[in-house]
Subunit: 234 residues, 2 copies
């Protein structure tokens, strides 16, 4: 697979502006690309969302084309030099991509080497399924199958257990262990401030923190920021 | 509808034992019932789960029959004096109930007046759908449709926003507002330590805290513990 991917945990890092903490990496992925197609379906206000994204990329000299949920949107993706999918609700996002046929088009183009980057929900959908999203299932998509650009699942906004918490809901690690009770695809728990960069068969972890890897039948494993993830891509 | 329901936010309150904080209310619901059918499908270890529940109810002089995912389980529910569904993962629970036909049997019997009580995932499934669960979609059920015993959605383990948090994931309130962007069924945000008791057309909020009610186009509303919920049941 020729894939060129950047899968970001969170679009906004606490205390900084939208995409600021990962913009250098985005620009490195884009290289000479000066026009990005933006998929806004994870939020309800698609136009407002696209305006925010366009404004942010204008500062980098990059134009943004909003992908619409129709045939014109299909053409936008077919002709795109790169695609960015923003965060929000993963179920809502996937449902629109499935109903419009855009899921298959984005997947095919990204597998053929078109740069794809996503944040949060936009990273969740790069996995085989959305079974490791943190989002509420507010919309029922026809299937949990997603872009399938990498052979592992992603859990963005990965949170370590809070010491001393009295809340009885499951910790993130417990939820991912429950995932592994039912599935055997590995999961990358991507802490806020982190991302995964993939170029063809190789990949590495970027950003501020280590990531936590969950695999069935093994204890969780920490991978350092800057280190390779090639084994998970094989 | 003759329903007699007890929908509990969480089975274990911090610092107390399993079901301790709500056992008086459970016993009030059960009245003379001395045998409860237990639905264990939200956890992976069904036998171990049923053992814990049986041990807890033995202390109250109540026998527990484990519901199995087969025809014998269907008979257990058909003959049950009361049904209890324990917490765990809501997607896993619903998937088994749908695949075994138990969903329709439990729903029919509870609508006819058999006492039904649930905690966490077991309360989520009493709503029309599981679209307001907090759980990870680790299993893909055929549909999000659930028992439909009350005309509102439930969000158990409801959490108020944490002041000063630097985590960028959505707050619970943001998630429920996103739910209302896509759906117009009201949602009861049920804080830990709380429950909903329903008897026929009437209902009230019980437990330690107020609940937060979310409705499309209105600001969220607090309902006091001990107060009526009849308007939401109409």
């Amino acid at each position: 697979m020729m894939r060129r991917l950047l899968l970001i945990s969170n679009s906004t890092q606490h205390g900084t502006g939208y995409l600021d903490h990962c913009m250098a990496e985005i620009l490195d992925l884009l290289g000479d690309v000066r026009r990005v197609a933006f998929v806004p379906f994870a939020l309800s206000d698609r136009e407002g969302y696209a305006d925010v994204v366009a404004e942010r990329f204008r500062r980098e000299g990059i134009e943004v084309a909003r992908v619409t949920a129709d045939e014109a949107g299909q053409r936008t993706v077919e002709d795109a030099e790169a695609v960015f999918t923003g965060g929000g609700n993963t179920f809502r996002l996937l449902d629109v991509l499935q109903r419009t046929g855009l899921l298959d088009i984005v997947s095919r183009r990204a597998r053929a080497g078109m740069p794809y980057f996503g944040a949060s929900a936009g990273s969740n959908i790069a996995a085989p399924t959305i079974r490791t999203t943190n989002d509420m299932p507010i919309v029922e998509p026809a299937s949990f199958r997603s872009l399938d650009l990498v052979p592992f699942q992603i859990n963005p906004h990965y949170l370590d257990p809070e010491p001393g918490s009295t809340h009885m809901g499951e910790t993130r690690e417990q939820r991912l262990q429950e995932y592994l009770e039912e599935n055997d695809t590995p999961v990358v728990g991507l802490r806020e401030g982190g991302w995964i960069r993939v170029e063809g068969a190789g990949g590495r972890l970027g950003g501020l923190h280590s990531a936590r890897i969950f695999r069935r039948g093994r204890p969780p494993e920490e991978r350092s920021a800057g280190g390779p993830l090639d084994d998970l891509l094989a």
